[in-house]
């Protein structure tokens, strides 16, 4: 019932949004092509530190922001509402510790997933005069744009993860994104699927840009290759619901050859439905969570783990210090590589000592406090 109410509100909001001038197209052929090109590029920068790499080369001059250190950095966080953000946030704090000689203070405001709170957080940071630089991880794109624009006028701003509809930040850091995710995963399914094989797509919820684009890109490839997608269902990221849905599909179709997922949180539950029904494991696309990687290794699955790497939470801190030192940084769009874990490198990422929802592509093994800080043993 609660979900029902919230999703109705979301649906209404989305309909209003789509009708407005800010309509976002989740299935944009240009963006699709751009992501395809980015996936084919060789990243520049240190190969063992993907969080310092970038894909499309341009740099911005930051001499105007140069200041004597150490610096006061402020961070307006959208929230910590999922394990992905928890891992990322831990990365970020550890990165601050690494650069503690350059950073005098690191002040954080958690918007708890609320646009209005984040807008006032940003406002408070800007007017406090206690920030040399502001990092923003926006809760939603359109709503946060004016607040970020206002902040840009007073101090250097770095935006990462979700974007804003303005070019005013010094740099916007994010990985290739949803289209890239969809392309890598769908190509894998197409390459492994037997002729006429049945594919079930499991999605978390509608209307979230980073998730919609994952699906639109994958669906485009499925259509181009004539793949038989028997269903696309929303799981709300709920294990029990995922399992019930997969159970129903197994009942209905006898067997499912591949499961495509737009995020890995419920991938193990989906696999368990096959186990409980006594069916062979499907080809599956998960994510870099340890529980999925462990299952993949233990059961010898035909699988792939795309990532939306949590190491991107390290980059803004590194960039902040560089900007305040007046060193050029990649921008205005700092595209990070978005690796995919394949069978060959599985062993490198499976780690029994890490918690089940730890994201293996965290780039955090060299950070202080690893692994305890991330809940590992």
């Amino acid at each position: 019932m609660f979900k029902l109410i919230t999703s109705t509100i979301a649906g209404v909001a989305l309909a209003g949004f789509a009708g407005g001038a800010l309509a976002q197209n989740f299935d944009d052929p240009k963006e699709f092509q751009a992501a395809k090109d980015l996936l084919a590029m060789t990243p520049q920068g240190p190969a063992d530190k993907p969080w310092e790499q970038h894909l499309d080369g341009k740099e911005v001059d930051t001499a105007q922001y140069k200041k004597p250190g150490p610096y006061r950095i402020c961070f307006s966080n959208a929230g910590l509402f999922n394990p992905w953000r928890v891992v990322g946030w831990t990365n970020m704090q550890a990165q601050v510790d690494v650069l503690k000689d350059d950073i005098k203070s690191f002040t954080v405001a958690d918007a708890q997933g609320k646009d209005d709170k984040q807008i006032s957080d940003i406002d408070a940071f800007v007017s406090s005069g206690n920030c040399d630089l502001l990092i923003v991880s926006p809760n939603t794109t359109a709503a946060l744009t004016p607040a970020v624009e206002a902040a840009c006028k007073k101090l250097p701003v770095i935006v990462f993860d979700r974007g804003v509809l303005t070019q005013c930040p010094v740099t916007f850091i994010n990985p290739i994104g949803g289209y890239g995710w969809g392309i890598s995963t769908a190509n894998f399914v197409v390459s492994k699927l037997p002729k006429g094989g049945k594919v079930l797509a499991l999605r978390i919820s509608p209307g979230v840009d980073v998730l919609e684009t994952r699906w639109s890109a994958a669906n485009r490839i499925f259509k181009e290759n004539g793949v038989n997608v028997v269903g696309a269902e929303f799981t709300d990221g709920d294990n029990a619901k995922t399992k019930s849905i997969v159970e129903d599909y197994l009942n209905r179709f006898g067997n499912i050859d591949a499961v495509w997922m737009d995020a890995g949180a419920t991938s193990v539950a989906a696999l368990e439905a096959f186990e409980d029904a006594g069916k062979p494991y499907p080809i599956i696309t998960g994510e870099d969570q340890e529980d999925f990687l462990k299952k993949w290794k233990d059961k010898g699955l035909t699988a792939i783990a795309p990532t939306y790497p949590t190491y991107q939470w390290r980059t803004p801190i590194i960039a902040a210090v560089e900007i305040l030192k007046g060193q050029p940084v990649p921008g205005p769009n700092w595209k990070l590589p978005q690796p995919v874990i394949m069978q060959a490198d599985l062993d490198k990422y499976v780690d029994d000592k890490m918690p089940p929802l730890h994201y293996a592509m965290c780039g955090c093994k060299d950070l202080p406090g690893y692994p305890q800080r991330w809940g590992g043993k």
């Binding site: 159970e247 539950a269 089940p356």
Partner: protein, 329 residues
């Protein structure tokens, strides 16, 4: 004249018999038949067993919620207690099967305390239960998040998960027999006896009907209130253990379950103002909701339409129940 009277009597006897059948049972059978028509495997014994397993956690939650509703209250803290049970289970067992039994005991103890707090706030601080348990919802959820640091930290051992996941295979006739059904049957049996077969149960009805009158009649209303909230909390822990078994660890497993449990009871003819309700109704309501969710998935409707349909059908079921009760007087 006599003929006409006989006729009347016969008709009223038929109406009486029809009245005694819980409407939720009929609604459930209709929905289940629709599910079965769309997907014939649901009409096979194995399909029925799987369905019951899936419905078990909600049916258990509804059985617990029933006590609180009948006593004239609400328990909104159930969903968060489910989450706490799942998270706590993974933290306490730390993936070691030998920890399972004491971990479950600790979880029940936590549930007992939460129920006691709910009951005490309602009974002694005279706070409306909807507010009191909303507070508990928030603090229990917060406690679960603090315990695990925002992300689940462990796996659950198989012997913890067996209540929701294990099934005997190759059973004659029914092919599979999930352990969850045993738990469901046990909980329903206990709840039926508790509500319809004990003095305590009769007092729950009395308090829900008229708390002041019950007090004057010598019933210790406060104890009854404590009792119903403890029962509800213990049911939530049981459902938590089952859901942990079925789905594994996740942080939002309990989200919205308290409202589903209340909805199940309402569909089952339980009166929200207290004093009226049956266990059969509550369980049938839970089965109806589960059948409805399954039906909508099987129909393959787009999600927004599915949720709209879900809401409409719920309202229709409740309205029909109310209309029928009015007609019955």
């Amino acid at each position: 004249m006599t003929l006409a009277l006989d006729e009347d009597r016969r008709r009223s006897r038929a109406i009486e018999a029809a009245r005694r059948i819980n409407i939720a049972v009929v609604v459930f059978l209709v929905f289940y038949l629709a599910v079965g028509l769309l997907q014939p495997t649901y009409l096979e014994p194995a399909g029925i067993m799987n369905f019951l397993r899936r419905a078990a956690p909600l049916a258990i939650l509804a059985s617990g919620q029933l006590f609180v509703l009948v006593s004239g209250g609400f328990d909104l803290s159930m969903g968060s207690l489910v989450t706490l049970t799942v998270i706590g289970g993974s933290m306490l067992t730390a993936n070691d099967p030998s920890n399972t039994w004491w971990a479950i005991a600790v979880l029940y103890a936590i549930g007992f305390v939460v129920g006691l707090i709910n009951g005490a706030v309602v009974a002694y601080l005279r706070t409306p239960s909807i507010v009191a348990t909303l507070g508990t919802l928030l603090s229990v959820n917060g406690a679960a998040m603090m315990w695990c640091g925002g992300a689940p930290r462990g796996y659950l051992p198989d012997n913890f998960r067996m209540f929701g996941r294990f099934a005997f295979h190759d059973v004659p006739l029914i092919k599979i027999f999930p352990l969850a059904i045993v738990v469901l049957a046990a909980v329903c049996g206990l709840a039926y006896w508790g509500l319809h077969g004990t003095v305590f149960g009769r007092r729950v009805f009395a308090v829900g009907d008229n708390a002041r009158a019950s007090e004057l009649a010598g019933i210790q209303v406060d104890y009854v209130r404590l009792g119903v909230f403890v029962i509800s909390a213990l049911a939530a822990v049981t459902a938590g253990v089952m859901l942990a078994g079925f789905g594994g660890v996740s942080i939002d497993v309990g989200l919205g379950l308290e409202l589903q449990a209340i909805a199940a009871c309402v569909v089952g003819g339980v009166q929200l103002m207290g004093g009226r309700g049956t266990l059969v109704g509550a369980v049938a309501g839970a089965l109806t909701l589960t059948a409805l969710f399954t039906l909508l998935t099987l129909l393959g409707l787009p999600q927004p339409l599915k949720e709209t349909a879900q809401g409409m059908i719920l309202i229709a079921a409740v309205a029909f129940g109310a209309w029928r009760r009015r007609r019955a007087g």
